[in-house]
């Protein structure tokens, strides 16, 4: 039963990644694209944790943690670059 639930959740997050990609492609303005990238990062964290449950190992939590931190920093850096024209003033 867990396998079917895992497949369902992974399918939901896969379709969600495709919808984010659509928003990156057509999004009218930089704020929408940054938002879609941030959502993609969060969906990838969820997919990594799902894969860790499926494999039964706890190795993937470190990868998910790293992606969470780097994704947050990249989103803030992109917004700062658009707001001030520079990342580190």
């Amino acid at each position: 039963m867990i396998e079917y639930a895992l497949l369902f959740a992974a399918g939901c997050y896969g379709i969600a990644l495709l919808l984010d990609l659509w928003r990156i492609a057509v999004g009218p303005g930089p704020a929408d694209r940054i938002l879609a990238l941030d959502t993609m990062v969060i969906n990838v964290i969820a997919l990594l944790v799902l894969y860790g449950i499926w494999r039964g190992t706890a190795i993937y939590f470190e990868a998910a943690m790293l992606i969470a931190m780097v994704g947050f920093v990249s989103t803030v850096a992109y917004c700062r670059f658009l707001l001030r024209g520079d990342i580190i003033e």
Binding site: A10, A31, T39, A68, L82
Partner: protein
């Protein structure tokens, strides 16, 4: 693993998958940019929280130990989601709104993206 843990993990996984899908569906469904900011910052973060709860129950049911990695990830995500939403809203305001379109600010200073912060243009702080 007993049946109760399996049912609990499956329910958490299905609900979190639905939350993640709804978050990204709202990203393409809603009309305005600031409305679109609403969907992924709440629903997708809750979906990831559901996946992490399922993972905690799974590893407790299989190994017998409580793993705390998931709590770290969820704490970090729940801390940083409002900050990224604030930055994205500021970027949208700076690119799409003029200063006279915004309502008056009660604090005496202007909006943060148009005015300098207080106590920087005059003499420095002691």
């Amino acid at each position: 693993m007993n049946l109760f843990a399996e049912v609990l993990i499956s329910i958490a996984l299905v609900i979190s998958g639905l939350f993640g899908f709804v978050g990204s569906y709202g990203l393409i469904k809603l009309k305005n940019s600031l409305q679109r900011l609403h969907a992924p910052t709440k629903a997708t973060t809750l979906g990831v929280g559901g996946v992490l709860i399922a993972s905690m129950i799974f590893f407790y049911a299989t190994t017998g130990y409580i793993s705390v990695h998931e709590l770290l990830i969820s704490l970090f995500l729940f801390l940083t989601a409002p900050i990224t939403a604030n930055f994205i809203a500021k970027t949208y305001m700076a690119y799409n709104l003029r200063e006279d379109e915004l309502p008056e600010n009660e604090s005496g200073h202007g909006w943060a993206i148009y005015d300098d912060p207080p106590n920087t243009s005059s003499e420095p702080l002691d």
